[in-house]
């Protein structure tokens, strides 16, 4: 096996194990299935391109978050004027028969609705927070101080709370 093939299989294995991170980014930043697929491919491509610069100084997952969020934030696609994200994907799913599934869909839907009120940077911070990434790592991924992460989180909470009051 050549050096490139070795590197390739090592990369694929690592990405495959942590691919949930990419899917979460795609779910949060895309408003339809095609866009989600495009962004997934774009993130994989970007991860592969910048893989040689990953020296293992940070966790592989932190690096994946960083690259994935960078790609999602720089994504040029014009945002559709939709009330909230991902209804389309929920619509194409098989209809939920059980009340349990219905409740699950409703709650995920409410999550999308709440997060769609945030801008791309706030979404990134929120996603990392919900994924229980430590504050120190959030600060490193975003490139701001830990203190500012806390400030940002307070603002996001206020924004979400105000939105609930308005509605």
């Amino acid at each position: 096996m050549s050096k490139l093939e070795n590197k390739e299989s090592e990369f694929i294995k690592l990405v495959s194990e942590s691919q949930g991170i990419i899917h979460k980014v795609c779910r949060l930043y895309c408003d339809d299935h095609t866009h989600r697929e495009d962004l997934f491919q774009e993130i994989i491509l970007q991860l592969w391109k910048s893989y040689p610069s990953f020296k293992g100084n940070s966790k592989f997952s932190s690096w994946m978050y960083r690259v994935g969020l960078n790609v999602a934030i720089q994504d040029f696609r014009k945002e559709k004027k939709r009330k909230y994200l991902f209804l389309e994907s929920l619509e194409v799913k098989e209809p939920s028969i059980s009340p349990k599934n219905n409740d699950k869909d409703e709650r995920i839907n409410a999550l999308y609705k709440a997060i769609s009120k945030l801008d791309k940077i706030e979404k990134a911070i929120m996603m990392l927070y919900l994924d229980e990434v430590p504050n120190e790592d959030i600060a490193e991924i975003i490139g701001i101080s830990q203190n500012y992460v806390r400030v940002k989180m307070t603002r996001i909470r206020t924004k979400l709370a105000n939105d609930i009051k308005i509605n």
């Binding site: 495959s16 495009d38 491919q41 990953f54 960078n70 790609v71 994504d75 999550l111 490139g143």
Partner: protein
């Protein structure tokens, strides 16, 4: 929806995401796919210009040398003398070389962005810089090449049977490239602003929000 509810909904989403998981061979296919990102499109465009400009320089220099060595093969002899053709080819080669330099600078910056491993704030800062640089260099290239081509067309038409003098016709030889250059720059700026203006403004706002008290 408060933060606790959000967290519990997030956990449900994590379960849902398991359905999205793809096989390793699908990931492998993605590694060598074509990027659809705007920066990649700009990069491909720069790459194309790079090749075209390099070929054009070689052609222009070859023609300048060939015309000088063997005036009979001057391809522009129906409008220009041997000396005029030589000057034309040299000016074209120099202008294209300048454009090539602009393109190269923009290309290198984009290349760096695509292979870097920076945090969100620094990456955003570099990305905006690279986008602005590529757009600016594109405008400069147009503002350089278009007036030169127009000037020589005008020269070929207006001075076919005439020589330079102190008259309006000669003055136009100087006024025309400046006017066309400025117009070309403004038109390009308008187009680029229409295409990327809002996008870059939004990215600038994101960056500012990260720079405040960071």
């Amino acid at each position: 929806m408060d933060i606790i509810e959000l967290k519990s909904a997030w956990n449900l989403l994590q379960q849902d995401i398991n359905k999205d998981k793809v096989e390793e061979n699908e990931i492998m296919t993605s590694l060598y796919g074509k990027s659809k990102s705007e920066i990649s499109k700009i990069k491909s465009n720069l790459h194309f210009k790079f090749v075209m400009a390099s070929v054009s320089i070689i052609v222009a220099i070859s023609l300048a040398i060939a015309t000088n060595l063997k005036p009979a093969i001057n391809p522009l002899d129906f409008v220009f003398t041997t000396l005029e053709s030589t000057i034309f080819f040299i000016i074209m080669a120099l202008t294209i070389a300048l454009v090539l330099f602009f393109n190269y600078k923009a290309y290198i910056h984009i290349q760096y962005i695509q292979h870097s491993n920076l945090n969100l704030k620094d990456n955003l800062k570099n990305f905006i810089k690279a986008m602005k640089k590529a757009i600016r260099f594109n405008m400069y290239s147009d503002a350089l090449i278009t007036p030169i081509i127009f000037e020589w067309l005008y020269y070929a038409y207006a001075f076919k049977n005439d020589s330079l003098g102190f008259d309006l016709k000669t003055a136009l030889l100087f006024i025309l490239p400046i006017t066309i250059g400025v117009m070309s720059y403004l038109v390009q700026r308008f187009i680029q602003n229409l295409k990327f203006g809002n996008y870059l403004k939004r990215l600038d706002d994101y960056l500012k929000s990260l720079q405040n008290n960071s």
